[in-house]
Symmetry: C2
Subunit: 110 residues, 2 copies
């Protein structure tokens, strides 16, 4: 068993205004999926993209929209988002505090 | 894409003091794993048990301990817990408010 605080995991900022932490990974022994925590700063967004794997998302703090193929849908604390494989999507912070969310994806085989 | 509030999902109370909501499931098209949200009332606990699948857990609110094979470890808001396959475990609320957490598991084949 591994117990930690998510802030103990290293953060990376590959995209300006978007911090990503990988909090449960294959390195911990996870056999099937990876838990990540994102923080999107106000006026920032994850890139609009698509990929062959799904997202299972839970919004922890903040306000924003998730933009999918049906348009923009408001999200906030306690929202749940399922992004199916191959759907183009992005998460946009439209509020004044970080938009923080959990995003679980299948392990990526290298 | 599916967007909801986790409270819109039906809750079940199979164990007294433990509410479970399945917020992303195979019925939504999820191909690999299920996201659930648990609420454990003060002085309540999930049962101590083990199973062949892992848990990936994020604590949303409350205080408690997770009891694994190494003993009891304190948990609270923003804690992350990885329970590997086959490790006996339970989540105990030791505080005064609900211990609320996300728990992701692989899809269970029927």
């Amino acid at each position: 068993m591994k117990v930690s605080n998510y802030r103990e995991s290293d953060s990376v900022e590959e995209i300006k205004g978007v911090l990503r932490r990988e909090v449960i990974t294959a390195d911990d022994g996870a056999p099937h999926f990876t838990m990540r925590v994102f923080e999107v700063e106000p006026d920032s967004s994850t890139p609009s993209h698509s990929h062959a794997f799904e997202h299972e998302v839970f919004i922890l703090t903040g306000r924003g929209v998730v933009v999918g193929e049906q348009g923009a849908v408001p999200i906030g604390k306690d929202s749940v988002v399922f992004v199916p494989p191959d759907e183009t999507h992005c998460f946009v912070n439209t509020g004044n505090e970080p938009l923080r969310f959990i995003c679980v994806i299948p392990l990526q085989k290298e």
